[in-house]
């Protein structure tokens, strides 16, 4: 179990770093590994989570989108909904790279510039 936890930690650390390089992407919750499992919720400016999830699905990337059965929390965080990716034993850093590239392609598809404004 310790090895699995370590693996998850490594992936989460890598994902936190890589995801935050994407312009317009905001991580919801802690940005360090303290109190953070291998689950990352985020928003991408200018793209609704359902649209983002649809594009990621097209590239074979499974994420969960929406309220996550926590509507009051979404209100409290002042977000409409979020996109949520999670990692486990069968994932590696190439999956994170795929996720990052999928998000970038979604930004291109929806014509969202780096400032998050629809072109």
């Amino acid at each position: 179990m310790a090895k699995i936890a370590e693996h998850e930690h490594e992936l989460t650390k890598y994902a936190l770093t890589e995801l935050q390089k994407i312009p317009g992407l905001a991580i919801v919750g802690p940005r360090d590994l303290e109190n953070r499992g291998a689950v990352l919720s985020f928003t991408v400016e200018g793209i609704h989570p359902h649209d983002l999830g649809q594009v990621l699905d097209e590239y074979g990337i499974a994420v969960r989108t929406g309220y996550h059965c926590a509507w009051p929390l979404m209100r409290a965080m002042n977000v409409v909904a979020t996109t949520r990716a999670s990692f486990y034993i069968y994932n590696d850093t190439s999956d994170v790279d795929e996720l990052v590239s999928g998000i970038t392609r979604a930004q291109e598809f929806f014509n969202v510039s780096s400032s998050g404004v629809l072109r």
């Binding site: 359902h50 649809q54 929406g66 309220y67 409409v80 909904a81 598809f109 929806f110």
Partner: protein, 146 residues
């Protein structure tokens, strides 16, 4: 299934420049609908002049499909007689529930036919119907004098 069949250019145009997305004051009826499974929401103001749908305006947040579809609906149904408007809603509903087998009549549904592709994505059908169901609810309420 590919993204282009879902996200037609017409849809993206309505999403980026939604029509009638500003609530007109003093409506005959105001309704608020939420798609609880995804969080899309719409507030719709309906102005009736006798049996005439004189104005439909709205505010809301949600995915591109829900926003574009509500924009199409608000532009298409204004100025129609309420029975005619409800008939168009029924036609749109039939197309959306067709799982991709019905492409819709452009003479009746206007830009709404661009949403035909959405009917192949079961998870997104509700997004497309949100504004239309809000309108139907508003008309029903205006009829019963609520």
């Amino acid at each position: 299934m590919n993204l282009d069949s879902l996200y037609q250019e017409v849809i993206m145009d309505h999403y980026k420049n939604p029509l009638h997305k500003k609530l007109s004051p003093e409506p005959t009826v105001q309704v608020h609908h939420v798609n609880t499974s995804c969080g899309d929401e719409v507030t719709l103001n309906l102005h009736m002049d006798g049996n005439l749908v004189s104005d439909i305006s709205w505010e809301g947040s949600g995915c591109s499909i829900s926003q574009a579809s509500t924009s199409v609906m608000s532009d298409l149904l204004r100025g129609k007689d309420e029975d005619e408007a409800l008939k168009i809603v029924a036609d749109f509903l039939e197309m959306m529930q067709s799982k991709g087998t019905k492409s819709g009549d452009e003479n009746i549904l206007g830009d709404g036919v661009a949403l035909a592709g959405v009917s192949k994505f079961p998870a997104r059908v509700k997004c497309a119907l949100l504004g239309w169901m809000a309108f139907k609810d508003a008309v029903t309420r205006s009829r019963s004098g609520e």
